[in-house]
Protein backbone atom coordinates (compact mmCIF):
# COMPACT_ATOMS: atom_id res chain seq x y z
CA UNK A 1 0.00 0.00 0.00
CA UNK A 2 2.84 2.38 0.72
CA UNK A 3 4.23 1.46 -2.68
CA UNK A 4 0.91 2.25 -4.31
CA UNK A 5 0.78 5.54 -2.50
CA UNK A 6 4.22 6.46 -3.69
CA UNK A 7 3.21 5.52 -7.23
CA UNK A 8 0.21 7.77 -6.99
CA UNK A 9 2.37 10.55 -5.63
CA UNK A 10 4.78 10.23 -8.52
CA UNK A 11 1.79 10.22 -10.88
CA UNK A 12 0.55 13.45 -9.37
CA UNK A 13 4.00 14.96 -9.65
CA UNK A 14 4.10 14.04 -13.32
CA UNK A 15 0.68 15.42 -14.14
CA UNK A 16 1.73 18.72 -12.63
CA UNK A 17 5.41 18.61 -13.39
CA UNK A 18 5.31 17.87 -17.10
CA UNK A 19 3.10 20.82 -18.11
CA UNK A 20 4.97 23.07 -15.70
CA UNK A 21 8.24 22.03 -17.25
CA UNK A 22 6.81 22.69 -20.71
CA UNK A 23 5.76 26.14 -19.59
CA UNK A 24 9.23 26.87 -18.24
CA UNK A 25 10.84 25.63 -21.44
CA UNK A 26 8.50 27.71 -23.55
CA UNK A 27 9.56 30.80 -21.68
CA UNK A 28 13.18 30.06 -20.92
CA UNK A 29 14.42 28.41 -24.12
CA UNK A 30 14.11 31.59 -26.21
CA UNK A 31 16.04 33.49 -23.55
CA UNK A 32 18.63 30.75 -23.58
CA UNK A 33 18.83 30.94 -27.37
CA UNK A 34 19.40 34.67 -27.07
CA UNK A 35 22.20 34.09 -24.61
CA UNK A 36 23.75 31.34 -26.72
CA UNK A 37 23.86 33.51 -29.80
CA UNK A 38 25.36 36.43 -27.97
CA UNK A 39 28.92 37.34 -28.76
CA UNK A 40 30.05 37.61 -25.17
CA UNK A 41 33.45 38.98 -26.07
CA UNK A 42 31.76 42.02 -27.57
CA UNK A 43 29.12 42.43 -24.90
CA UNK A 44 30.97 44.83 -22.65
CA UNK A 45 32.22 46.94 -25.52
CA UNK A 46 28.70 47.11 -26.95
CA UNK A 47 27.29 48.30 -23.68
CA UNK A 48 29.98 50.70 -22.55
CA UNK A 49 28.83 53.47 -24.84
CA UNK A 50 27.35 56.82 -23.79
CA UNK A 51 24.19 56.09 -25.82
CA UNK A 52 23.50 52.94 -23.84
CA UNK A 53 24.21 54.65 -20.54
CA UNK A 54 21.94 57.56 -21.35
CA UNK A 55 19.15 55.23 -22.42
CA UNK A 56 19.65 53.08 -19.33
CA UNK A 57 19.43 56.09 -17.03
CA UNK A 58 16.31 57.30 -18.79
CA UNK A 59 14.71 53.86 -18.66
CA UNK A 60 15.35 53.51 -14.96
CA UNK A 61 14.08 57.02 -14.20
CA UNK A 62 10.89 56.74 -16.21
CA UNK A 63 10.02 53.24 -15.02
CA UNK A 64 10.52 54.34 -11.42
CA UNK A 65 8.17 57.26 -11.98
CA UNK A 66 5.70 54.91 -13.60
CA UNK A 67 5.88 52.50 -10.68
CA UNK A 68 5.33 55.41 -8.30
CA UNK A 69 2.32 56.60 -10.30
CA UNK A 70 0.87 53.09 -10.28
CA UNK A 71 1.30 52.92 -6.54
CA UNK A 72 -0.18 56.36 -5.89
CA UNK A 73 -3.05 56.33 -8.35
CA UNK A 74 -3.58 52.62 -8.96
CA UNK A 75 -3.85 51.52 -5.34
CA UNK A 76 -6.84 53.72 -4.47
CA UNK A 77 -8.52 52.73 -7.72
CA UNK A 78 -7.96 49.04 -7.04
CA UNK A 79 -9.35 49.49 -3.55
CA UNK A 80 -12.49 51.25 -4.72
CA UNK A 81 -13.02 48.66 -7.45
CA UNK A 82 -12.50 45.80 -5.02
CA UNK A 83 -15.17 46.95 -2.63
CA UNK A 84 -17.71 48.24 -5.10
CA UNK A 85 -20.51 45.85 -5.95
CA UNK A 86 -22.20 48.27 -8.32
CA UNK A 87 -23.04 46.49 -11.58
CA UNK A 88 -21.37 49.29 -13.53
CA UNK A 89 -18.04 48.49 -11.89
CA UNK A 90 -17.53 45.43 -13.95
CA UNK A 91 -17.75 47.39 -17.17
CA UNK A 92 -15.44 50.03 -15.80
CA UNK A 93 -13.05 47.25 -14.92
CA UNK A 94 -13.27 45.83 -18.43
CA UNK A 95 -12.70 49.29 -19.86
CA UNK A 96 -9.57 49.71 -17.76
CA UNK A 97 -8.18 46.55 -19.32
CA UNK A 98 -8.40 47.99 -22.81
CA UNK A 99 -4.89 49.50 -22.88
CA UNK A 100 -3.72 45.91 -22.68
CA UNK A 101 -5.29 44.88 -25.98
CA UNK A 102 -4.75 48.07 -27.87
CA UNK A 103 -1.78 47.56 -30.19
CA UNK A 104 0.79 49.78 -28.50
CA UNK A 105 1.12 52.00 -31.54
CA UNK A 106 -2.60 52.69 -31.47
CA UNK A 107 -2.22 53.39 -27.77
CA UNK A 108 0.41 55.94 -28.66
CA UNK A 109 -1.89 57.53 -31.22
CA UNK A 110 -4.67 57.68 -28.64
CA UNK A 111 -2.29 59.40 -26.25
CA UNK A 112 -1.36 61.92 -28.91
CA UNK A 113 -5.04 62.54 -29.57
CA UNK A 114 -5.37 63.31 -25.86
CA UNK A 115 -2.21 65.17 -24.92
CA UNK A 116 -0.94 66.27 -28.31
CA UNK A 117 -1.02 69.73 -29.74
CA UNK A 118 -4.47 69.12 -31.20
CA UNK A 119 -5.56 66.67 -28.52
CA UNK A 120 -8.62 66.98 -26.32
CA UNK A 121 -6.50 68.08 -23.35
CA UNK A 122 -3.30 69.04 -25.09
CA UNK A 123 -4.93 71.97 -26.84
CA UNK A 124 -5.74 73.60 -23.53
CA UNK A 125 -2.32 72.74 -22.13
CA UNK A 126 -0.41 74.25 -25.02
CA UNK A 127 -2.31 77.48 -24.43
CA UNK A 128 -0.36 77.57 -21.14
CA UNK A 129 2.82 76.77 -22.97
CA UNK A 130 2.87 73.19 -21.72
CA UNK A 131 3.98 70.70 -24.34
CA UNK A 132 3.85 67.05 -23.47
CA UNK A 133 4.77 65.02 -26.58
CA UNK A 134 8.49 64.54 -27.25
CA UNK A 135 9.30 65.07 -23.57
CA UNK A 136 10.31 62.70 -20.82
CA UNK A 137 6.89 63.29 -19.24
CA UNK A 138 5.39 61.75 -22.35
CA UNK A 139 7.50 58.63 -21.84
CA UNK A 140 6.18 58.31 -18.30
CA UNK A 141 2.62 58.85 -19.49
CA UNK A 142 2.97 56.22 -22.18
CA UNK A 143 4.49 53.72 -19.79
CA UNK A 144 1.80 54.44 -17.22
CA UNK A 145 -0.92 54.02 -19.80
CA UNK A 146 0.18 50.50 -20.64
CA UNK A 147 1.23 49.31 -17.20
CA UNK A 148 -1.35 50.80 -14.85
CA UNK A 149 -3.99 48.23 -15.92
CA UNK A 150 -1.70 45.40 -14.87
CA UNK A 151 -1.17 46.94 -11.51
CA UNK A 152 -4.82 47.68 -10.87
CA UNK A 153 -5.98 44.23 -11.90
CA UNK A 154 -3.36 42.41 -9.86
CA UNK A 155 -3.90 44.50 -6.74
CA UNK A 156 -7.67 44.43 -6.99
CA UNK A 157 -7.55 40.64 -7.17
CA UNK A 158 -5.49 40.53 -4.00
CA UNK A 159 -7.75 43.02 -2.23
CA UNK A 160 -10.84 40.96 -2.93
CA UNK A 161 -9.23 38.16 -0.98
CA UNK A 162 -9.25 40.12 2.30
CA UNK A 163 -11.60 38.87 5.01
CA UNK A 164 -14.18 41.67 5.30
CA UNK A 165 -14.56 40.95 8.99
CA UNK A 166 -11.03 42.21 9.59
CA UNK A 167 -12.18 45.59 8.40
CA UNK A 168 -15.27 45.37 10.59
CA UNK A 169 -13.06 44.75 13.61
CA UNK A 170 -10.66 47.54 12.72
CA UNK A 171 -13.53 49.97 12.26
CA UNK A 172 -14.98 49.17 15.67
CA UNK A 173 -11.54 49.79 17.11
CA UNK A 174 -11.83 53.35 15.84
CA UNK A 175 -9.96 53.14 12.54
CA UNK A 176 -11.27 55.15 9.63
CA UNK A 177 -11.44 53.49 6.23
CA UNK A 178 -8.17 55.17 5.36
CA UNK A 179 -6.46 54.12 8.54
CA UNK A 180 -7.69 50.56 8.10
CA UNK A 181 -6.36 50.59 4.56
CA UNK A 182 -3.00 51.92 5.63
CA UNK A 183 -2.47 49.82 8.71
CA UNK A 184 -4.19 46.54 7.88
CA UNK A 185 -5.51 46.35 4.33
CA UNK A 186 -2.35 47.33 2.49
CA UNK A 187 0.10 45.40 4.66
CA UNK A 188 -2.00 42.28 4.16
CA UNK A 189 -2.09 42.65 0.37
CA UNK A 190 1.58 43.49 0.20
CA UNK A 191 2.32 40.36 -1.83
CA UNK A 192 -0.34 41.41 -4.32
CA UNK A 193 0.99 44.94 -4.45
CA UNK A 194 4.52 43.71 -4.93
CA UNK A 195 3.51 41.36 -7.70
CA UNK A 196 1.39 44.06 -9.32
CA UNK A 197 4.26 46.49 -9.08
CA UNK A 198 6.61 43.91 -10.56
CA UNK A 199 4.24 43.33 -13.46
CA UNK A 200 3.72 47.00 -14.07
CA UNK A 201 7.37 47.87 -13.75
CA UNK A 202 8.43 45.10 -16.07
CA UNK A 203 5.81 46.06 -18.61
CA UNK A 204 6.97 49.68 -18.45
CA UNK A 205 10.61 48.67 -18.82
CA UNK A 206 9.83 46.82 -22.04
CA UNK A 207 7.39 49.39 -23.38
CA UNK A 208 8.12 50.37 -26.95
CA UNK A 209 5.20 51.03 -29.29
CA UNK A 210 3.27 53.62 -27.34
CA UNK A 211 6.46 55.41 -26.32
CA UNK A 212 7.85 55.72 -29.81
CA UNK A 213 4.52 56.95 -31.12
CA UNK A 214 3.68 59.35 -28.34
CA UNK A 215 7.05 60.50 -27.08
CA UNK A 216 9.28 59.99 -30.05
CA UNK A 217 12.87 58.86 -29.93
CA UNK A 218 15.41 61.43 -28.87
CA UNK A 219 18.56 60.35 -27.04
CA UNK A 220 18.65 61.55 -23.48
CA UNK A 221 15.07 62.75 -23.50
CA UNK A 222 12.82 60.00 -24.76
CA UNK A 223 15.10 57.22 -26.01
CA UNK A 224 14.66 54.39 -23.54
CA UNK A 225 16.43 51.04 -23.80
CA UNK A 226 13.78 49.28 -25.93
CA UNK A 227 13.82 52.17 -28.39
CA UNK A 228 17.57 51.92 -28.57
CA UNK A 229 17.29 48.18 -29.15
CA UNK A 230 14.92 48.76 -32.03
CA UNK A 231 17.12 51.38 -33.58
CA UNK A 232 20.19 49.18 -33.22
CA UNK A 233 18.37 46.19 -34.63
CA UNK A 234 18.36 48.01 -37.98
CA UNK A 235 22.04 48.77 -37.80
CA UNK A 236 23.76 46.02 -35.88
CA UNK A 237 21.63 43.19 -34.49
CA UNK A 238 24.50 42.09 -32.27
CA UNK A 239 24.42 45.38 -30.37
CA UNK A 240 20.65 45.06 -30.10
CA UNK A 241 21.07 41.62 -28.57
CA UNK A 242 23.63 42.93 -26.12
CA UNK A 243 21.26 45.66 -24.97
CA UNK A 244 18.44 43.12 -24.71
CA UNK A 245 20.62 41.07 -22.44
CA UNK A 246 21.22 44.14 -20.32
CA UNK A 247 17.44 44.64 -20.07
CA UNK A 248 17.04 40.99 -19.20
CA UNK A 249 19.70 41.16 -16.52
CA UNK A 250 18.24 44.30 -14.95
CA UNK A 251 14.80 42.78 -14.76
CA UNK A 252 15.98 39.48 -13.33
CA UNK A 253 18.02 41.23 -10.68
CA UNK A 254 15.38 43.79 -9.76
CA UNK A 255 12.52 41.31 -9.74
CA UNK A 256 14.50 38.66 -7.96
CA UNK A 257 15.56 41.09 -5.26
CA UNK A 258 12.14 42.70 -5.00
CA UNK A 259 10.32 39.43 -4.73
CA UNK A 260 12.77 38.03 -2.30
CA UNK A 261 12.33 41.09 -0.15
CA UNK A 262 8.60 41.66 -0.38
CA UNK A 263 6.96 38.45 -1.43
CA UNK A 264 7.31 36.23 1.62
Amino acid sequence: MVGGGTGRRVGGRLVLGVPALLAVLLLVLPLLALLLRTDWSRLLADLATPTVWTALRLSLTTTSCTAALCLLLGTPLAWLLARSDHPGTRWLRALLTVPLVLPPVVGGVALLLTWGRNGILGGALSAFGIQIPFTTVAVVLAETFVSLPFYVLAVEGAMRGLDPRLEAVARTLGASELRYLRTVGLPLVLPGIASGLALAWARALGEFGATITFAGNFPGRTQTLPLLVYVELERDPQVATSISILLLAISVVVLGALRGRWLR
Binding site: P133, I212, V231, L233
Partner: protein
Protein backbone atom coordinates in the same frame (compact mmCIF):
# COMPACT_ATOMS: atom_id res chain seq x y z
CA UNK B 1 -2.11 77.53 -48.61
CA UNK B 2 1.40 79.02 -48.13
CA UNK B 3 4.34 77.00 -49.41
CA UNK B 4 2.16 74.37 -51.02
CA UNK B 5 3.29 74.85 -54.60
CA UNK B 6 6.43 72.66 -54.73
CA UNK B 7 4.43 69.60 -53.82
CA UNK B 8 2.01 70.08 -56.65
CA UNK B 9 3.74 67.89 -59.18
CA UNK B 10 4.46 65.04 -56.83
CA UNK B 11 0.84 64.59 -55.84
CA UNK B 12 0.01 64.90 -59.50
CA UNK B 13 2.19 61.92 -60.25
CA UNK B 14 -0.15 59.70 -58.29
CA UNK B 15 -2.96 60.60 -60.69
CA UNK B 16 -3.57 58.06 -63.45
CA UNK B 17 -2.60 54.90 -61.63
CA UNK B 18 -4.89 51.91 -62.26
CA UNK B 19 -5.56 52.00 -66.00
CA UNK B 20 -2.06 51.35 -67.30
CA UNK B 21 -1.32 48.37 -65.12
CA UNK B 22 -4.29 46.24 -66.25
CA UNK B 23 -3.39 46.91 -69.86
CA UNK B 24 0.05 45.30 -69.52
CA UNK B 25 -1.23 42.45 -67.36
CA UNK B 26 -2.57 40.60 -70.42
CA UNK B 27 0.91 40.14 -71.86
CA UNK B 28 1.91 37.46 -69.26
CA UNK B 29 2.27 33.82 -70.24
CA UNK B 30 -0.70 31.62 -69.42
CA UNK B 31 -0.61 28.23 -67.72
CA UNK B 32 1.62 29.16 -64.75
CA UNK B 33 0.62 27.68 -61.35
CA UNK B 34 1.89 27.89 -57.82
CA UNK B 35 2.30 30.29 -54.97
CA UNK B 36 4.68 33.21 -54.85
CA UNK B 37 5.48 34.39 -51.36
CA UNK B 38 6.59 37.99 -51.34
CA UNK B 39 8.16 39.66 -48.34
CA UNK B 40 8.14 43.39 -48.91
CA UNK B 41 9.13 46.50 -47.01
CA UNK B 42 6.23 48.28 -45.35
CA UNK B 43 6.60 51.29 -47.64
CA UNK B 44 5.70 49.06 -50.58
CA UNK B 45 2.34 48.06 -49.10
CA UNK B 46 0.06 49.88 -51.53
CA UNK B 47 2.14 49.43 -54.64
CA UNK B 48 2.71 45.71 -54.13
CA UNK B 49 -0.95 45.15 -53.28
CA UNK B 50 -1.76 46.66 -56.67
CA UNK B 51 0.93 44.64 -58.45
CA UNK B 52 -0.27 41.47 -56.75
CA UNK B 53 -3.83 42.09 -57.97
CA UNK B 54 -2.69 42.76 -61.50
CA UNK B 55 -0.37 39.77 -61.61
CA UNK B 56 -2.97 37.40 -60.24
CA UNK B 57 -5.47 38.66 -62.80
CA UNK B 58 -2.98 37.88 -65.52
CA UNK B 59 -2.02 34.47 -64.08
CA UNK B 60 -5.16 32.92 -62.59
CA UNK B 61 -3.20 29.83 -61.57
CA UNK B 62 -0.79 31.72 -59.36
CA UNK B 63 -1.42 32.93 -55.85
CA UNK B 64 0.71 35.77 -54.52
CA UNK B 65 1.09 35.91 -50.77
CA UNK B 66 2.42 39.14 -49.38
CA UNK B 67 3.84 39.92 -45.99
CA UNK B 68 4.87 43.43 -45.11
CA UNK B 69 7.29 44.41 -42.40
CA UNK B 70 10.38 46.44 -41.74
CA UNK B 71 13.28 45.54 -44.03
CA UNK B 72 15.52 44.48 -41.17
CA UNK B 73 12.83 42.16 -39.82
CA UNK B 74 12.24 40.64 -43.22
CA UNK B 75 15.91 39.87 -43.69
CA UNK B 76 16.06 38.28 -40.27
CA UNK B 77 13.02 36.16 -41.14
CA UNK B 78 14.55 34.92 -44.37
CA UNK B 79 17.74 34.05 -42.55
CA UNK B 80 15.65 31.98 -40.19
CA UNK B 81 13.83 30.07 -42.89
CA UNK B 82 10.85 32.16 -43.78
CA UNK B 83 9.15 30.51 -46.73
CA UNK B 84 9.83 33.41 -49.09
CA UNK B 85 10.18 33.45 -52.86
CA UNK B 86 10.82 37.13 -53.29
CA UNK B 87 12.23 39.76 -51.00
CA UNK B 88 11.69 43.43 -51.80
CA UNK B 89 13.63 45.78 -49.53
CA UNK B 90 13.87 49.48 -48.93
CA UNK B 91 17.54 50.18 -49.56
CA UNK B 92 20.28 47.76 -50.51
CA UNK B 93 22.00 48.28 -47.16
CA UNK B 94 19.18 46.36 -45.50
CA UNK B 95 20.17 43.26 -47.49
CA UNK B 96 23.65 43.09 -45.98
CA UNK B 97 22.90 40.65 -43.12
CA UNK B 98 21.10 38.36 -45.58
CA UNK B 99 22.51 34.86 -45.91
CA UNK B 100 24.02 35.19 -49.42
CA UNK B 101 23.70 31.48 -50.16
CA UNK B 102 19.94 31.90 -50.31
CA UNK B 103 20.07 34.58 -52.99
CA UNK B 104 19.41 33.50 -56.57
CA UNK B 105 19.27 36.92 -58.12
CA UNK B 106 19.23 40.61 -57.13
CA UNK B 107 17.94 43.52 -59.20
CA UNK B 108 17.10 47.13 -58.39
CA UNK B 109 13.48 47.83 -59.24
CA UNK B 110 12.70 51.26 -57.84
CA UNK B 111 14.19 54.38 -56.40
CA UNK B 112 12.84 56.77 -53.85
CA UNK B 113 13.89 60.35 -53.16
CA UNK B 114 13.50 62.38 -50.00
CA UNK B 115 10.85 65.00 -49.51
CA UNK B 116 9.70 67.23 -46.67
CA UNK B 117 6.26 66.34 -45.38
CA UNK B 118 4.24 69.05 -43.61
CA UNK B 119 0.70 69.10 -42.24
CA UNK B 120 -1.88 70.19 -44.87
CA UNK B 121 -2.17 73.62 -43.20
CA UNK B 122 1.63 73.89 -43.05
CA UNK B 123 1.47 75.76 -39.70
CA UNK B 124 5.21 76.54 -39.63
CA UNK B 125 5.17 77.77 -43.23
CA UNK B 126 7.97 75.48 -44.35
CA UNK B 127 8.94 76.30 -47.92
CA UNK B 128 12.41 74.83 -48.24
CA UNK B 129 14.98 72.72 -46.47
CA UNK B 130 16.50 75.87 -44.95
CA UNK B 131 13.32 76.50 -42.94
CA UNK B 132 13.99 73.33 -40.96
CA UNK B 133 16.74 75.05 -39.04
CA UNK B 134 14.37 77.55 -37.42
CA UNK B 135 14.01 76.94 -33.68
CA UNK B 136 10.21 77.31 -33.95
CA UNK B 137 9.91 74.46 -36.43
CA UNK B 138 9.61 71.04 -34.86
CA UNK B 139 11.32 68.58 -37.14
CA UNK B 140 11.21 64.80 -36.92
CA UNK B 141 13.59 62.57 -38.79
CA UNK B 142 14.22 58.88 -39.11
CA UNK B 143 16.82 57.48 -36.73
CA UNK B 144 20.41 57.57 -37.95
CA UNK B 145 20.47 53.81 -38.16
CA UNK B 146 17.64 53.35 -40.63
CA UNK B 147 18.06 54.12 -44.38
CA UNK B 148 15.82 57.18 -44.46
CA UNK B 149 17.67 58.61 -41.49
CA UNK B 150 21.04 58.07 -43.14
CA UNK B 151 19.75 59.68 -46.31
CA UNK B 152 18.38 62.68 -44.40
CA UNK B 153 21.73 63.13 -42.65
CA UNK B 154 23.47 63.18 -45.99
CA UNK B 155 21.00 65.70 -47.38
CA UNK B 156 21.36 68.08 -44.45
CA UNK B 157 25.11 67.81 -44.69
CA UNK B 158 24.99 68.71 -48.32
CA UNK B 159 22.61 71.62 -47.67
CA UNK B 160 24.63 72.74 -44.63
CA UNK B 161 21.48 72.91 -42.57
CA UNK B 162 21.27 71.92 -38.90
CA UNK B 163 17.60 71.04 -38.38
CA UNK B 164 15.71 71.56 -35.11
CA UNK B 165 15.07 67.86 -34.43
CA UNK B 166 12.64 66.86 -31.67
CA UNK B 167 12.61 63.17 -32.42
CA UNK B 168 14.41 60.53 -34.47
CA UNK B 169 11.79 57.98 -35.28
CA UNK B 170 12.54 54.30 -35.74
CA UNK B 171 11.02 54.10 -39.17
CA UNK B 172 9.65 56.26 -41.88
CA UNK B 173 6.07 55.48 -41.02
CA UNK B 174 6.43 56.69 -37.46
CA UNK B 175 8.16 59.79 -38.79
CA UNK B 176 5.30 60.56 -41.10
CA UNK B 177 2.72 59.80 -38.43
CA UNK B 178 4.01 62.71 -36.35
CA UNK B 179 3.21 65.10 -39.17
CA UNK B 180 -0.07 63.42 -39.90
CA UNK B 181 -1.17 63.93 -36.31
CA UNK B 182 0.00 67.53 -36.38
CA UNK B 183 2.54 67.02 -33.60
CA UNK B 184 5.50 67.90 -35.78
CA UNK B 185 5.77 70.76 -38.22
CA UNK B 186 7.89 68.91 -40.70
CA UNK B 187 9.42 65.53 -41.40
CA UNK B 188 11.91 64.32 -43.93
CA UNK B 189 10.51 61.19 -45.56
CA UNK B 190 10.38 59.50 -48.94
CA UNK B 191 8.44 60.93 -51.79
CA UNK B 192 6.43 57.68 -52.04
CA UNK B 193 5.26 58.13 -48.45
CA UNK B 194 3.97 61.58 -49.18
CA UNK B 195 2.11 60.19 -52.16
CA UNK B 196 0.67 57.33 -50.14
CA UNK B 197 -0.53 59.68 -47.41
CA UNK B 198 -2.74 61.48 -49.93
CA UNK B 199 -4.27 64.64 -48.44
CA UNK B 200 -3.13 63.87 -44.91
CA UNK B 201 0.16 65.65 -45.56
CA UNK B 202 1.61 67.98 -48.06
CA UNK B 203 5.00 67.54 -49.68
CA UNK B 204 7.68 70.20 -49.91
CA UNK B 205 10.27 69.19 -52.45
CA UNK B 206 13.98 69.15 -51.63
CA UNK B 207 16.15 70.54 -54.41
CA UNK B 208 17.89 67.93 -56.48
CA UNK B 209 21.44 68.98 -55.57
CA UNK B 210 20.83 68.24 -51.88
CA UNK B 211 18.48 65.34 -52.29
CA UNK B 212 19.53 61.75 -51.65
CA UNK B 213 17.92 58.73 -53.20
CA UNK B 214 17.43 55.17 -52.02
CA UNK B 215 17.49 52.16 -54.31
CA UNK B 216 15.06 49.26 -53.71
CA UNK B 217 16.44 45.80 -54.54
CA UNK B 218 14.20 42.87 -55.39
CA UNK B 219 15.81 39.57 -54.44
CA UNK B 220 14.76 36.25 -55.90
CA UNK B 221 15.05 33.41 -53.44
CA UNK B 222 13.43 30.47 -55.26
CA UNK B 223 13.95 29.31 -58.76
CA UNK B 224 10.49 28.45 -60.02
CA UNK B 225 8.67 29.81 -63.03
CA UNK B 226 5.92 31.65 -61.13
CA UNK B 227 8.53 33.50 -59.06
CA UNK B 228 10.52 34.43 -62.13
CA UNK B 229 7.33 35.63 -63.78
CA UNK B 230 6.46 37.75 -60.76
CA UNK B 231 9.88 39.39 -60.60
CA UNK B 232 9.77 39.96 -64.31
CA UNK B 233 6.38 41.56 -63.94
CA UNK B 234 7.62 43.94 -61.24
CA UNK B 235 10.46 44.95 -63.54
CA UNK B 236 8.20 45.23 -66.59
CA UNK B 237 6.78 48.47 -67.83
CA UNK B 238 3.44 47.67 -66.25
CA UNK B 239 5.11 47.14 -62.94
CA UNK B 240 7.20 50.26 -63.28
CA UNK B 241 4.08 52.19 -64.14
CA UNK B 242 2.24 50.99 -61.05
CA UNK B 243 5.24 51.81 -58.89
CA UNK B 244 5.48 55.23 -60.44
CA UNK B 245 1.83 55.88 -59.66
CA UNK B 246 2.68 55.39 -56.00
CA UNK B 247 5.56 57.82 -56.13
CA UNK B 248 8.53 55.56 -56.90
CA UNK B 249 11.04 56.57 -59.51
CA UNK B 250 12.77 54.15 -61.84
CA UNK B 251 16.09 52.78 -60.47
Amino acid sequence: GSGSSPSGDSTGAAGGSGAGSTATGASGAAGLTGTVTVLAAASLTESFDAIKADFEAAHPGVTVETSYGSSATLVQQVDNGAPASVLALAGSAAAEPLDKSLVKDTTSFARNILEIAVPPSNPAAVASINDLAKPTVKVVLCADTVPCGKAAQATFRKARVVPNVVSKEVDVKATLAKVRLGEADAAVVYHSDVVAAKDAVKGVAIEGQYNTSLTYPIITLTDDAATRAFVAYVLSDAGRHTLASFGFAAP
